[in-house]
């Protein structure tokens, strides 16, 4: 591990993450998330499904060659049934490529398409920053809950200290997911997240892009 991992997982890295809620905005609208307990449940569920998938893809993309990256991008598509979620993932991937290129110059960036899936870009960023696949998995797993947690904090005017505590207490789960994801391409799905993403994308009145 190098401190590049801290930069990569920092919510202040300007990669566009702050405009995505990972389904939380719609989960709040649907009454599913309304307090710290329901937020923790939602985050744990997201971590176990899309977080696990993202961690596996990011680990595989870390250090991968160009052809493998293209294949992994297809694998990401196949694991993301909701078109709205695919769009959100590619938007965030593009944002990460933009800052990653400048932060960690590497010929690997040129192997990516214009808008790769976020976990693929994350794996490449990790590799370019001198990190290992397990680090890439950690970053992906952590990011799958940190952004949504902040979004809930903003939308529900929750106590930021409570939200920080919820996120911190999920650390063992984040580590477990990252550990299990390396060397695998998990294919966990969650119809609820897919549904929330689709309903959200059709709305005109929303704060978040996803």
């Amino acid at each position: 591990m190098t401190s590049a991992l801290l930069t990569l997982a920092d919510s202040r890295l300007p990669a566009g993450g702050h405009t995505h809620s990972g389904g939380v905005e719609q989960a709040i609208a649907a009454g599913i998330v309304h307090d710290p307990g329901s937020l923790a449940t939602f985050l744990r569920r997201r971590l176990a499904t899309s977080g696990l998938v993202a961690a596996g893809l990011a680990a595989a993309a870390c250090g991968a060659a160009a052809e493998r990256l293209a294949a992994l991008d297809d694998e990401a598509d196949a694991r993301t049934p909701s078109p709205a979620s695919r769009t959100a993932s590619r938007q965030q991937g593009r944002g990460l490529v933009r800052v990653g290129r400048r932060a960690w110059p590497s010929p690997l960036w040129d192997a990516l398409t214009d808008r790769p899936h976020h976990p693929i870009a994350l794996g490449v960023a990790a590799g370019a920053g001198g990190l290992a696949p397990r680090d890439a998995a950690s970053a992906a797993a952590y990011l799958s809950i940190s952004g949504p947690a902040t979004a809930a904090q903003r939308l529900l005017a929750m106590d930021p200290l409570t939200v920080a505590a919820v996120t911190a207490r999920l650390s063992p789960d984040v580590d477990d997911v990252a550990e299990r994801a390396v060397g695998e391409l998990p294919a966990a799905t969650d119809p609820l997240l897919d549904l929330l993403a689709e309903v959200h994308a059709a709305r005109k009145d929303r704060f978040f892009a996803s």
Binding site: R12, A15, G17, T19, H20, A128, G130, F207
Partner: protein, 228 residues
Amino acid sequence: MPPDHNLDDYVDPYAPGHRHSADGKPGPLRVGLGGPVGSGKTALAAALCRTLGAEYDLAVVTNDIYTTEDADFLRRNAVLPDDRIEAVQTGCCPHTAIRDDITANLDAVELLESRHPGLELVLVESGGDNLTASFSYGLVDAQIFVIDVAGGDKVPRKGGPGVTAADLLVVNKTDLAPMVGADLDVMRRDSAAVRNGKPTHLISLREDPSAATVAEWVREQIRARVLV
């Protein structure tokens, strides 16, 4: 391999001033329109589109807080065709989206640039915010801060980065000054005192819907850019 970490002579090839589109040209001038809620940012964007639309190939990015109100206004007023207006979502944080993490706005600007390769001017309207709002120069080349006289003639004196550092300060709605008891001379004097020689325009979009003086300022910025 960790990247090179000698930063002594570091020049970011993508930084403003080094930015180039595919053909090596500098790309369109990007102008930010910031300022408090309701000061007239959208009205100014519409005015600039009407006045400059025949001279320049232009487009607009809006940062509505919640709806697509501003984008819809520009469309309704037929100032610009649909494919020249992009609205971005700012995740409850209009300020972050123009200053700290400009990704969503860069995406919108780049989408417009790729859709209209001859683009010469992109206006980026921020969501209505407060006096501390300002654009990152990674997103725009120049910024206009719009306040209005209805907020009180104290506003320029209060300062804040928008008022003190914007490339152009616009004090809009001078037509309302008698109604709200605002002293325009005080606003002019206080602005000059904190702006270090940078220009301030007092205008009324109600009385001059063409925003003639602001449009001329934008023309100067475009000319200066082409000469560089």
